[in-house]
Symmetry: C2
């Protein structure tokens, strides 16, 4: 007989997936299943999945390794880079430890150089991502995806067929559809769960390796949430906050907590934790699998792109679909791309969407929790009035 779990218990289980999967990744390793680690949403997972490898997100969101990284890296680079590099040099991330290969992309200035430094002690393959979402850039990126496939074939001595890739596209789309359906539940008014619960699942799902298992779990969770919603599990009406900016998770949950402990609710993440990386599917009907994958990833509205119209477009859509009452931008201290772009994002939110906007520059430490509470409480209060 299956024990029926409470929803909060399920949310916590998702949050724990990162730790639970430590052993799994070791098992894969023992079975000689290749493990390919990456840090970024631009990583075309389909190619790794097509060869039968396990794609895994590498540790990058906790403060614990920042100090160590600062003994090598400049203090003023963003905490995401410092945390990632600190995990790598201290060998404290099991996913990094067991990864046969780390795949990087030429995204921001700091990451480009971080991959160079990492390549001194780990096998690192860097994909060159163009800076502009032009037709020429897209062609270039498609070539990069083919080059990556060829590298994997050579490096792991395997053959990756277009049919393998096609199957991977279908499985990854299912995964994305399940995620999209799940976070899309926050369009409901009132919301069926808190933003912290939403975040636990989104973050945890990065560490659920079985693709079909995860899709199934997520869909069951969504069904369950809807079922309980109809029975009355609904949060009281609160100012609805959409989050944008840098990726979140673990130590930056303090932002979500500061919003929700002060009367607001986070209805969505437009950033790489949420919709930005998931929203668009790979076209399954495109006879050109590489072009289809290239177009999906190349459309990600990351601040390293210039101009970054896709971000503004998605942000606008989400503001409408999620009935946002305000936008909070989380900027990791030292992330020039996002911080500089926040000037235009603020203008868009204020002037075109006529909504309040607040930018919060922070890092992974707990030092600013008090200040965050004050600022975000005032922001939520202003919206309520």
């Amino acid at each position: 007989m299956e024990i029926i779990k409470d929803l909060p218990e399920i949310f916590d289980e998702f949050e724990d997936k990162k730790k639970q999967s430590f052993l799994k990744v070791k098992e894969y390793k023992e079975k000689q299943i290749p493990i390919i680690g990456a840090y970024c949403s631009f990583f075309p997972r389909e190619i790794a999945v097509a060869m039968g490898a396990i794609p895994v997100g590498l540790c990058s969101s906790a403060n614990e390794t920042v100090e160590l990284a600062e003994t090598v890296l400049p203090k003023n680079v963003c905490p995401l880079i410092k945390s990632s590099y600190g995990y790598a040099i201290s060998d404290r991330c099991p996913y990094f430890h067991f990864a046969d290969l780390v795949v990087g992309e030429t995204t921001c200035d700091g990451k480009k150089k971080m991959y160079e430094l990492m390549s001194e002690f780990k096998e690192v393959y860097v994909m060159e991502l163009p800076n502009t979402q032009s037709e020429g850039g897209l062609r270039f990126w498609r070539e990069e995806i083919i080059r990556f496939k060829e590298f994997l074939e050579e490096y792991f001595q395997v053959v990756i067929t277009e049919n393998d890739i096609r199957r991977a596209i279908v499985s990854q789309n299912k995964r994305r559809e399940a995620l999209k359906r799940f976070y899309g539940l926050m369009k409901l008014e009132p919301v069926p769960m808190s933003g912290l619960e939403l975040g636990k699942v989104l973050y945890g799902s990065k560490y659920q390796f079985g693709q079909e298992e995860m899709t199934k779990e997520l869909n069951e969770l969504s069904d369950r949430i809807l079922e309980e919603y109809e029975k009355g599990r609904q949060l009281e009406k609160r100012p609805r906050i959409l989050i944008t900016g840098c990726p979140m998770g673990e130590d930056t949950n303090k932002i979500v907590e500061a919003i929700e402990n002060n009367g607001g609710v986070v209805v969505g993440f437009e950033n790489c934790t949420g919709a930005n990386a998931v929203e668009r599917m790979v076209d399954e009907d495109d006879p050109d699998v590489y072009g289809a994958i290239a177009r999906k990833y190349f459309s990600i509205g990351c601040a390293i792109m210039t101009p970054n119209n896709n971000r503004i477009h998605l942000l606008g859509e989400m503001i409408d679909d999620y009935h946002a009452d305000g936008v909070v931008e989380m900027i990791l201290s030292g992330c020039h791309s996002v911080e500089m772009e926040s000037i235009s994002v603020k203008n868009f939110v204020n002037e075109e969407k006529h909504l309040p906007y607040l930018a919060v520059v922070t890092d992974y430490s707990k030092g600013d929790v008090g200040q965050l509470n004050t600022r975000l409480a005032a922001f939520v209060e202003m919206i309520r009035k």
Copy 2:
């Protein structure tokens, strides 16, 4: 009768060229000669010169506009970006004011976003520079150069022929040869001038518009220096410092002063103020003019490239050719690319060249002059011992 000027007077005249040319740029404007402004060494001057336009370096190296820029931009972006943007919004740079067009390149995170912000009040054209000096990247950059040419033809309603470009290549190579010959004089032991004098000419020459005039002036200056050198105008023997890192000029001359006031001499600039942008010529014999221009600029060893082997290569060559006793890296505070890369540069200088290396993180203010003096005096003293 021509008055024979002293060398120091000539050096000062070069330093003053930026101011002297304010009027000239206005004259060009009145004669309806197009003026094309740029900030970066990657800007392919030849294409602008080929259409009969005046390429001009835009103001970016003084502290005076930083504070104003900080009312809009994040404080932690580098002073070069803040200075540039501050000049632009305050209309205090005559070159920016009179420029018909500003050409940017997708170099670092901050500049990419700066160009977006500038394009709100100025005509800005951004060239997409790849992140990796690969064959594919080179092909892409060659296409970007052609696209730029086509944009200029459309925008200014002109026709730019390959012969125009070929002539521009020859004139720009002459300019570069003259610069190279000039700064190459610092290979002499003892040196024929101070690093401050060297810097005055290098910086000032960016504002000398007549290409042939400048080539002539520079060559005459080099002749004159050699002539006086033989007559005994030589600096006493001092620790020879090679500068690398971010571009310098105006308010960062404090670094050169701190080295030279404390007994050292700056023998060269490996950065964009000196050799990095000049050293390599455009191949005049290449039947493919676009490919030839692409290869020259694409080889620039800028820290935004990953990996940046060309920088290490040039640095190594200059250490040998200029008989450097030590390397000082000037890092503009907030320049993640250069600051992160400094880890590998230090290793190279220390371990492969067996020379002392010092990294100095600074900005355009005078706040750290005392500290710079202390640190650089100690560095020079250590070398002397």
